[in-house]
Amino acid sequence: MSRRLTKLALVLILVLLSACGAPPKKDLALERVRGELDELKSNPELAGYAPLAVGEAERAIRAAELASGDDLYRSYLVYMADRRIQIARTMAEREQNEKTLDELAREKSAMLIKASQLEADQARMDAEEARLLVATTAEEAQRAREEKEAALQKEAESARAAQLSAEEADQARRVAESRASEAEYARLEAELASQQVTSLTRQLENLQLRETESGVVVTLGDVLFASGQARLVEGGRSSLEEVVDLLQTEPDKKIRVEGHTDSLGDAQANLLLSEQRAEAVLEALVSMGVDSERISSLGMGEDFPIASNEDEDGRARNRRVDVILLDN
């Protein structure tokens, strides 16, 4: 009897023990949720972020694990734990994104700082380059001026030497004039070198110019001479100054001076008069610095009118001296 009792007690104790120590029913859903939390905690990207939310998820899982009793309550707790883990995960992601945003903002400002430094460097370099360029250009221009002046000096000297060899009294007078004019020529050339374009346009504005097949023609009206006379009137020379300036812009071209008259009077007389007037203009131009080697004169008489000889206006236009810059 006592043996049986003892046996019964033993069995009872075993049953009780087994009830206490019995592991809770294996719950696959709960295991999966636990696995998700472990993954989040060991995820190299997300570990350490959102610690409070992770702690809440941890507590929710523990509550589900400890819960005994009906399945409805347990599955509710498991569901809540699962959502808590998802919340913790998305918060961890967000914290990580915010950290990345900080890094990107730092990168951006570093780039902008670097860019502004480079910009400043480049501006400094540009300024230095521009300064050097200006300096070099000024030097080159100066050198060109000096070379030109030296060349002109030489030319003037050789012209002087060549002309000195001519012995005639008339020639001697011209040489003397030409000396003075060569010096002036040199001076004008030097000035022209620095002015060139502007002075040329200025001249072209004031002179009456025509383009012809033989070259540019400058027409001098009948203001240079008194009626029937072959001598330049007082002040005629000064009206030739602009012509000289123009001629000197093309120092390599030959020049022909042509005299023309209207059709009044004897044709032979007109031819002679036109020739004398052309010569007078030639002499004036040479005395004002035009190289005598490149200039020639010609009387054309009344045969080349540029306007009608029927009225005074037209005749006035036909009485003229043309200075032609020959193209060849």
Binding site: L72, T90, M91, N97, L101, L112, A115
Partner: protein, 121 residues
């Protein structure tokens, strides 16, 4: 034997007649959904929004049928889905900002390389 039976019946009855919860818990869950909608939940967390709405609808039915225990659980589950939707929406916005800034940094980098060449490391 009799007392045991009475006790059992009492237990079963107690389980069935869980106290009727405050009906305002439904409103609270509804407000949670509205809060989630306000931060763009339907755009950034459509699945969670659907869960939140469906669970709230089920909770209402549970309340009507006096299945109070399950109704309470469903309300809680609805609310936590709204909460998750809110968190997901916020995270999606930061992700979007990260992508934009990263892109603009790449463009800036390219532009600086084109402008400064080798000097720009």
């Amino acid at each position: 034997m009799k007392p045991i039976l009475i006790a059992l019946v009492c237990l079963v009855l107690a389980a069935c007649t869980t106290v009727r919860p405050d009906p305002s818990i439904l409103e609270t869950a509804e407000q949670a959904i509205e809060a989630a909608e306000a931060v763009g939940g339907d755009e950034f967390a459509p699945v969670e929004m659907r869960f939140a709405r469906e669970k709230l609808a089920s909770a209402r039915i549970g309340m009507e049928k006096e299945k109070y225990e399950v109704a309470v659980y469903l309300v809680e589950e609805s609310e936590i889905n709204s909460e998750l939707a809110i968190e997901k929406s916020r995270t999606a916005k930061t992700r979007r900002r990260v992508n934009e800034l990263r892109k603009s940094n790449v463009e800036l980098d390219e532009r600086l390389r084109a402008t400064f060449g080798d000097e720009y490391k």
